[in-house]
Amino acid sequence: MIETAISALLILGGLFGLIGSFGLLKLRDPMQRLHAPTKATTLGVGATLVAATVQLTGQTAPPSSAHLLILGFLFLTAPLTALYLARAHLHRTVLRNALPPPAGTGDWASTPKPPAS
């Protein structure tokens, strides 16, 4: 029973990891290419880590939680990576005057500010 669950999680994780990297190779636009690794690959690695947790919990006396630590860290940092890369891409390719102004006062966060003082 547990072995079936681990196998299903492993196959799911491998498929999602493959789909993520294939999308990175195949999609056309840089902003489209941002989607594949940050969502599919994160989910695939997450399934692999859950499988490792389930497998190690059956073996060692105290349940292993280090894999879940990595899982939480990856799920927290993947959106931040996507955000920073999208900002860098916008900053390099889209002219500042071509962007619509943001709501409220102030400027877009990706536009470089003049140095203080």
Binding site: E3, L10, G14, F22, L24, P37, H67, F73
Partner: protein, 89 residues
């Protein structure tokens, strides 16, 4: 059944790693290359964890933790460099 699933997952992540290598070499823009390198780090974490399952040891988790942290920090630092021309403001 577990050994088949393990082999399948290892093959999938090895193929994904090869695709990331191709993407690092022939990506058109610089943020694309950073993204491909970041995906490569995540796939390496998955490979380390799978190797840990295959050998049945829990010792490789520390390597995966360190790799996750350095991968995130290096990606953010490179993006920050492209954005502002400097890392520390």
């Amino acid at each position: 059944m577990l050994s088949f699933a393990l082999t399948f997952a290892l093959t999938c992540y090895a193929l994904a790693f090869a695709m990331n290598l191709i993407q690092v070499v022939r990506a058109p823009t610089l943020p694309d290359r950073i993204l491909a390198a970041d995906t490569m780090v995540i796939n390496t974490i998955a490979l380390i964890v799978l190797a840990g399952i295959a050998t049945g040891s829990a010792l490789s988790v520390e390597a995966a933790i360190v790799l996750a942290m350095t991968g995130f920090v290096s990606t953010v630092a490179l993006s920050k460099y492209l954005l502002r021309g400097g890392i520390i403001e």
